[in-house]
């Protein structure tokens, strides 16, 4: 009795600190942001008048929903491109490299860039893709083109390249875990039964790695949704993304209520996608038995 009481006390001591912190710095801020999204701006003041006008603006003003649609498009493209590059790489690591040591060294080499300065990795692309940049001068130097091409930088294309580059490790990690978990005898059995390599891949390896693919694409998608640095560095006039619009509301436009409403919309989309992908993943796992 005394012991269980003491245990409860210890538990209370351990949990209460983090709990208070999370209430103060996560829960309350989100709640305040939610409240702000119903305020209105009557320059130069922000009036707490609780109305849905900001959300109405987002739905009716094409400027906003077009940016949102563009952001979704870029996020889809980035997740797909990252998958196309990450999957063969990961597959190769898991199935073709026999030495365990070499495999883990290469795996770490792929993952490490993830934590190396995001800003600098994005910045260096600006120096690569610019009109006097590395790519252009290389192409001229080798005689492939005569004049610098300006199409590389300041475009949606540049944004997709940079974001793909940045988020590849996010796909490699879950796909690696998924591929590693596939029992080898399943693949051998399939081959013993005379099923070709491609068929084995399509019918066994690929379906079993779907949970990893899904998790990675979800990560990539959500992070791309919230990115404002890549559009700022390499996006052109048609490269504005939703996060940039939010950023402007809290800066020069000084419309915090609208910015908060946009953030809430982003939050809802991201949470919806995470929840959906979680469900799918779980359903997939059940299928495997």
């Amino acid at each position: 009795m005394r012991q269980s009481q003491r245990r409860r006390l210890a538990m209370f001591g351990v949990v209460s600190g983090p709990l208070l912190w999370m209430i103060a710095f996560l829960f309350i801020p989100y709640a305040v942001m939610f409240a702000y999204s119903f305020y209105s701006r009557q320059f130069p003041a922000i009036i707490p008048d609780f109305q849905a006008g900001n959300y109405l603006t987002l739905v009716t003003d094409p400027q906003y929903y077009q940016v949102l649609l563009r952001t979704l498009k870029i996020a889809v493209l980035v997740s797909l491109a990252a998958l196309v590059i990450a999957y063969p790489l990961t597959y190769y690591l898991v199935f073709k490299i026999k030495s365990v040591r070499l495999r883990s060294v290469l795996y770490i080499a792929v993952i490490v860039p993830l934590w190396v300065s995001y800003l600098l990795r994005a910045y260096t692309w600006k120096t690569i893709l610019g009109s006097e940049g590395v790519l252009n001068s290389f192409l001229i130097w080798t005689g492939i083109i005569d004049e610098p091409a300006s199409i590389f930088l300041y475009s949606q294309f540049a944004m997709v390249i940079v974001l793909t580059y940045i988020y590849i490790p996010f796909l490699v990690m879950p796909v690696y875990t998924a591929l590693e978990k596939i029992p080898r005898n399943l693949i051998e059995a399939s081959k013993d039964l005379g099923v070709g390599h491609w068929q084995t891949f399509l019918k066994i390896t690929l379906p079993l790695s779907v949970p990893g693919i899904l998790a990675g694409m979800t990560f990539t998608f959500c992070l791309t949704m919230g990115d404002f640095v890549a559009p700022f560095l390499v996006g052109g006039p048609d490269g504005l993304m939703i996060a940039n619009v939010v950023q402007v509301q809290f800066g020069t436009a000084f419309n915090w209520p609208l910015g908060s409403a946009l953030s809430i919309v982003m939050l809802v989309i991201v949470l919806a996608i995470i929840t959906a992908s979680d469900r799918f993943e779980r359903a997939g796992r059940l299928d495997l038995g």
């Binding site: 073709k96 910045y123 120096t127 001068s137 491609w198 404002f228």
Partner: protein, 285 residues
């Protein structure tokens, strides 16, 4: 494709066997090579930009363009004598170290609670605690900005520290939690059987056992804080952190000075991260 098909057909005797062999081994080898190429290409894609960043920090040319002109250290000299940049670096160290301390103070007990205790609302607690990793950083930044302003707090490095503490605690929680899950609890039971009080068991048995995970996750959180932009952007006052300084400099135009300081950051980050990966994977005694 058609060419190889016709050459096979010119020799009907061995043709069939060749076709069969091609079926059995050909595509495998072909796809093996293609796979290797794709994997190599992927790695190249990941590392070329980092190499470009480093190479041009030593190139004797104001413009980052090929061909290379010659070796110089002038960009390093300029970067390291740039007062604004040095101030920003100091601020980043101050923010990073303070944020790591905060993250540990909140993250280690959280991970401990998630591993050991069953309490009402545990699932919700876990979800909320891990939210900042899954959500775009900018949302965390904006939410905190709204609150600080509602409270009438001025933005400063202090608000940035609180922001980083909140955003990066999730990193500490996941890693310390993972280590606690692998931890053999018999040792703790033995300790308490031998008469140690719970706090003694924690400080003399549990903590030393998760020490390398804690150091590893601290290094990683520090690196992340040192490079953080999305949260910092909204919570920064008048004083810049290094990434914010670089961000505002790039707006005005590219200079190889950024490559120089960037190279130092990248190399420093790489060292810290590799160390942290090593510590996180290592098993303590």
């Amino acid at each position: 494709m058609t060419e190889s098909a016709t050459t096979l057909r010119t020799d009907p005797g061995n043709g069939l066997a060749d076709v069969r062999r091609w079926r059995r081994f050909g595509p495998v080898k072909l796809s093996d090579h293609a796979l290797m190429l794709a994997a190599g290409g992927g790695l190249l894609f990941l590392y070329t930009p980092i190499l470009v960043l480093i190479i041009f920090s030593f190139n004797d040319n104001r413009v980052t363009t090929l061909p290379l002109r010659g070796f110089t250290l002038v960009w390093y000299e300029r970067a390291l004598t740039n007062g604004d940049m040095l101030a920003a670096i100091l601020n980043s160290f101050y923010v990073g170290i303070s944020a790591v301390v905060l993250c540990l103070l909140i993250g280690v007990p959280s991970a401990f609670a998630l591993d050991r205790f069953d309490f009402p609302g545990k699932a919700l607690f876990r979800r909320f605690a891990l939210l900042p990793i899954t959500l775009p950083g900018l949302i965390t930044g904006i939410a905190m900005l709204n609150m600080f302003r509602a409270m009438g707090m001025d933005l400063s490095l202090m608000t940035v520290i609180l922001g980083h503490g909140t955003a990066l605690t999730a990193v500490v929680i996941t890693q310390v939690f993972a280590r606690l899950q692998r931890f053999n609890r018999n040792v703790e039971e033995a300790s308490s059987d031998l008469g140690a009080k719970p706090w003694q068991t924690f400080f003399f048995v549990t903590l030393p056992n998760i020490r390398s995970a804690i150091i590893g996750t601290s290094l990683l959180s520090f690196t992340l804080s040192f490079d953080e932009i999305p949260v910092t952007f909204f919570l920064i006052g008048r004083e810049n952190t290094l990434p914010m300084y670089i961000y505002s400099t790039i707006r005005r135009g590219i200079t190889p000075e950024i490559n120089a300081i960037g190279t130092l950051i990248v190399v420093g980050s790489l060292v810290l991260i590799l160390l942290s990966v090593y510590l996180l994977m290592k098993e303590d005694e």
